[in-house]
């Protein structure tokens, strides 16, 4: 399951922010890597809502959930289970 979500998240990031999968460090912040800016976070949020029906709450918008690709994937998984 998590592999599939990870793949979907990566496809979105690659298409939307014009990077190669091989250029993304899955454990590092996408902002630090220069892949996204503040609007990129907004776009990722919209993607999560659109694809997985998850409305991210304000208190969930933090680095523990958005700080890397792996953290984003983990967050999506947790929220889908608790749904």
């Amino acid at each position: 399951m998590s592999e599939q979500i990870c793949e979907e998240v990566l496809v979105f990031i690659c298409r939307n922010f014009i990077v190669e999968k091989s250029e993304i460090n899955l454990d590092e912040s996408l902002i630090d890597q220069g892949i996204i800016d503040s609007f990129g976070l907004v776009e990722i949020n919209a993607f999560i809502n659109r694809e997985y029906g998850i409305t991210v709450k304000e208190e969930e918008m933090n680095r523990d959930n958005f700080g890397s690709v792996n953290k984003i994937v983990g967050f999506i998984e947790r929220r889908r289970i608790s749904k």
Binding site: S29, D32, G34, D37, F39, A46, E59, M61, N62
Partner: protein, 661 residues
Amino acid sequence: MCGIAGILSEHMSPEERTDQVKRMIAALTHRGPDGWGYFTSSDITLGHTRLAIVDLNSGDQPITDGRYVIVYNGEVYNHPELREELLGKGAHFYTRSDTEVVLKAFEHWGKDAFTKFNGQFALLIWDRKEKRLTAARDRYGVRPLYILEYNRGWYYASELKAFDLIPGFNRSYDMLRLCEHGLLWNTIGDGTVWRNIRCLASGTIETFSAGSIPVRTRYYSLGETLFNSAQPIPETMNEAIDEFSAMLTDSVLLRLRSDVPVGAYLSGGIDSSVITYLAHCLNRERFKTFSVVFEDKDYDERTFQDDMVAAIGSDHTTVKIDYDSISDNLLDAVYHIERPVFRTAPVPLFLLARRVRESGIKVVLTGEAADEVLWGYDSYKELKLLRFWNRNRASLFRPHLLRALYPHLRHYADSKQFGLIKMYYEEFLSDYDNDLAGLNIRVNNNKSLVNFFNRDAGLVFDKNGLIERLREILPPDYKKWSLLQKNQYLEMYTLLSGYLLSSQGDRMSLAHGVEGRYPFLDHRLVERVFAYPDKFKLAGFSQKHILRRAFADRIPSSIVKRNKQPYQAPDLKSFFRSGALNETASTFLSPESIEKYGVFDKRQVERFLKKFERGQTEIIGYRDNMTIIFLLSAHMALYWAKNPKIGQVHDSSCTVAIIEP
């Protein structure tokens, strides 16, 4: 305003040199369509093309007085006072022009003359006796001057296109500089994005003699009077308001000095409204104002422009801009801009200048530079907020101030997105106060461009290297300044001189022979306000606070109270319609073009363009807008470098020809 060119080379015959300078001048006639002239000797040739504004009858150039010969592009507004002073010292004048005053001032005071000038200029003065050329440029780099060392000679020109007509010379990008420009909106120091071409740095003088290395002297640096001004700094806001209003009024008064009528640009913001208001009060005749209006309501400011026009009763003209106006004219605008840009915002000003000229006006006042001098940019707010938040990182309240940062950006105001914005800014808490100050955020937003360059150039993003290079140009007192003063210095040396005054200023208005004048850039005012306490300029989050307070009773309240809306035009939207690139953009960004120019990575650009073929989102982010305009304009600028327009000057319009045996 005018265009100047010159060649200093003893390895060419005077005839060959004269011929080349005439070709260079022919490429600059849009800057000065009212006549041209030249000087030539065994060492040097200087050329000039004139826009007649002061002393219409006898102000033709070059001017000589025996020992010195000058070609000059600009205005020194305090020329009547300097003339009086020089007359008192025994000088004789043959014309009423400010050019002669500049020449006599140089003759009398030498390089110290430049510290006495209040104005905007770039000039070349040839000393026949010492066989030495002096080049000088105004304090803030309003007027351009480029320098090329080629074929054992020095070449000088107001615009780069003049160099394209030198036999054998081809303009090409310096990829490292291009990347630096991509990150900062300007190159550092006196470099340009073009290989082997540099500019004369603002506030400097250089002297050139055949066969020796040029000698540079800096005669002005921002903040130079901060720690040694004899005049005490106003202690209260009210005292500062009185002083500031008087200085700004005097600055406008000086900039109304002209032998032709002066008009003004009215954007709808407070800066141009204040300038227009003051010009209206000082000018007894009915005043002409000009504005851009947009079909796309997201960019349109006409209600505010109308409020101001109603308040002063000006004779108002508007130019209406739609997506086609942008996409149809970017290529022609880039012909004049001569470097990549990040926004299409210069294009409407290009079209506005054309209308201004058609209406018979040659000189306009604008509100440019108020955002730098009085701290109107969001970078000042961002820094202030980060500093406040950093002092108590655990505070739940402090980051909430982020909501006030960009009221015009929908995604920032949306409370549902607040956590994301907080997360983004948190990244800057650790290094917001390094030497890049407010540029940290710009560099971070722009660094995705690095991936677009041709991989063969081997460019990588290196923030520390960038900071190191920047440190080389910082003034000695920089470390002693407040964080926001540092930010002003950086904004003035990057965005203001690299974009606003050049790409969006000088080049757009002079494309149609219109001279812009900038009252907020009077150096007396800039220096004085630089020394005011930070809170007079940014009080809480009230930007340009002193300006708002000073003119609150005189400008319509709708304008004083409105949120800042940066002047912008539709970027990506102008080129991407119904899921497809329009013709201009598809030609310039085709795989063949990318191959031919060799600047960008083909695959990266293809993937970027594909993103929009799948349809546009409702809101387009800064990065996507910036990227497409950067890619397009970089190719367009190179297109013009490779396909120069060849003009011709006619003997019938030659007003001065000085040929020295």
